[in-house]
């Protein structure tokens, strides 16, 4: 797939070239030190061979200066690597505010992806527009998987029971590998797919080509009614349960004194294990929905809860 350098991966995201620059630095350091050590050994081995030196070596006093020198130089170099790597890593981990949201559910051995806003579903493939930031919220239904797109230089494990997130900004149109990088059983090597980066126009066309899809928050709203959530979390607010509009990403004061941020994982836990974190000022009345909702439905509910906040803001 690489079109210019042989044996080198495509650079198809904004981060890729930055990672590659750091990689180049590391390669350079490695070459310098390997060559230095190889050359010294080779030179010494030839120069000081026994047939030339006789049976005895020459006396050589130890040298503190030398020891310090060859400790400090590697130290400085490695701290440079650390700082550069950590800086870039934080840049790559910091989630963008505005992004195209995708939900990823991994299970043995396939990837289910959903475009949250439009509701388009995909299996083992992901279509994204060029130049737009994409944010994935991922969870597994069974074991640990790992979502890996080499051309974007991104990877994150996908865990059971907890959401993890990942983002990238595609910078080159084309088709790229999607791999599962965490060993997950027999067909781990077949848990693969493709990521298709399209121009925004093509992307729009692709979206509408997928037939009519129900956006996730709409599906979530219906579930919210069906499961009876509304009976306690009605829009009026003077209900048994707390008002949920605008909750997402707000701080929540809990009954046991902790303050937590209502992120996706918190919402998920609130639905599945409501008693693990009880909101201050409320009785722990809410029943658990463990076993009654699938991971997919939880994602729908969460999308709905998030959308409540946005509607509020508008």
């Amino acid at each position: 797939m690489s079109d210019n350098i042989p044996f080198f991966p495509d650079q198809a995201s904004a981060a890729a070239s930055k990672v590659d620059a750091l990689y180049a630095f590391l390669v350079a350091v490695t070459i310098v030190f390997s060559v230095l050590i190889f050359a010294l050994i080779f030179y010494f081995a030839v120069r000081y061979r026994r047939s030339r030196m006789g049976e005895r070596a020459k006396t050589v006093k130890s040298s503190l200066k030398l020891e310090i020198a060859w400790s400090v130089v590697p130290l400085v170099l490695s701290l440079t690597m650390f700082a550069w790597g950590a800086d870039l890593y934080f840049e790559m981990r910091k989630l963008p505010r505005e992004a195209l949201d995708i939900s990823v559910i991994g299970k043995q051995w396939m990837w289910n992806l959903t475009h949250i806003e439009e509701g388009n579903k995909e299996l083992n493939a992901l279509h994204v527009p060029l130049g737009r930031k994409v944010r994935l919220t991922m969870i597994s239904e069974d074991v640990i998987h790992s979502f890996y797109i080499p051309a974007f230089r991104v990877k994150a494990d996908v865990l059971p029971g907890r959401y993890t997130q990942l983002w990238f900004e595609p910078s080159k149109a084309g088709e790229y590998h999607l791999f599962c990088a965490e060993y997950c059983g027999t067909k781990h090597s077949e848990m693969i797919g493709k990521v298709v980066v399209m121009t925004p126009v093509d992307y729009e066309r692709w979206l509408s080509g997928g037939g009519t899809n129900e956006p996730l928050d709409v599906a979530g709203e219906r579930l919210f009614e069906q499961l009876g959530c509304a009976s306690c979390h009605g829009a009026e607010g003077n209900q048994r349960g707390p008002r949920l509009a605008g909750l997402f990403e707000k701080k929540v004061q809990l009954a046991d004194g902790r303050v937590v941020v209502a992120d996706e994982n918190y919402l998920r836990q609130s639905i599945l294990q409501p008693k693990a974190a009880v909101v201050a000022g409320f009785e722990p009345l809410m029943p658990t929905y463990e076993g009654q909702v699938s991971e997919e439905q939880i994602v729908q509910l969460i999308s709905y809860l998030k959308s409540l906040g946005e509607k509020e803001a508008n």
Binding site: D256, Q273, K275
Partner: protein
Amino acid sequence: MSEHGSLAHHFEDLEQQRQSADLGMWLFLITEIMFFGGVFAAYAVCRWMNPAGFSAGTQHLDVTLGTINTAVLIGSSLTMVWAVQAGHEGDAKGISRNLMLTILLGGVFLVIKGFEYRHKFHDGLVPGPLFHFEGEHVAGIELFMCFYFIMTGLHAFHMIIGIGLLMWLIVLARRGRFTKEYSNPVEGVGLYWHFVDIVWIFLFPMLYLLEH
């Protein structure tokens, strides 16, 4: 001194042998610290992740029995100290008498523990398919009970081994194997027994007392 029957051929003298045995035993105890340490670390993490469940779980344990057991175990450490002391004095009778007391107290501990376990079974507090107890269910209680059984189970297992070792020592003492100069095995097992005591000293507040 080297004609002494208890000196192995590869040691120079009894003092070297004693120090080696001591150091060896302590190193072994370090491995035990790390062995239990793995569960302690796991406990810390899981408690951090499930504060509500863990404090609810603590309430299902019996503080009175736990306290009694703590006292019993510390008592057994005291008699163990006396046995070691008797060893230094070359008093074989004293060794076996105190070791028997230690075994007795250790036995009491295990019996009480057994009763506690039976209660938990009875109340449906054993993790797994049988887990169903009356009362309010908070997520994390089952996890807490996992820790309860793993930690106390490992501890009890160590006590059982300890009791076996104590019996072996009694046999040796009866055979007159210990002298004023040589009672390394008593000392070694003593260290082990005290270590098991220390583990309990931490388990007790972690399982029975915190936020109950």
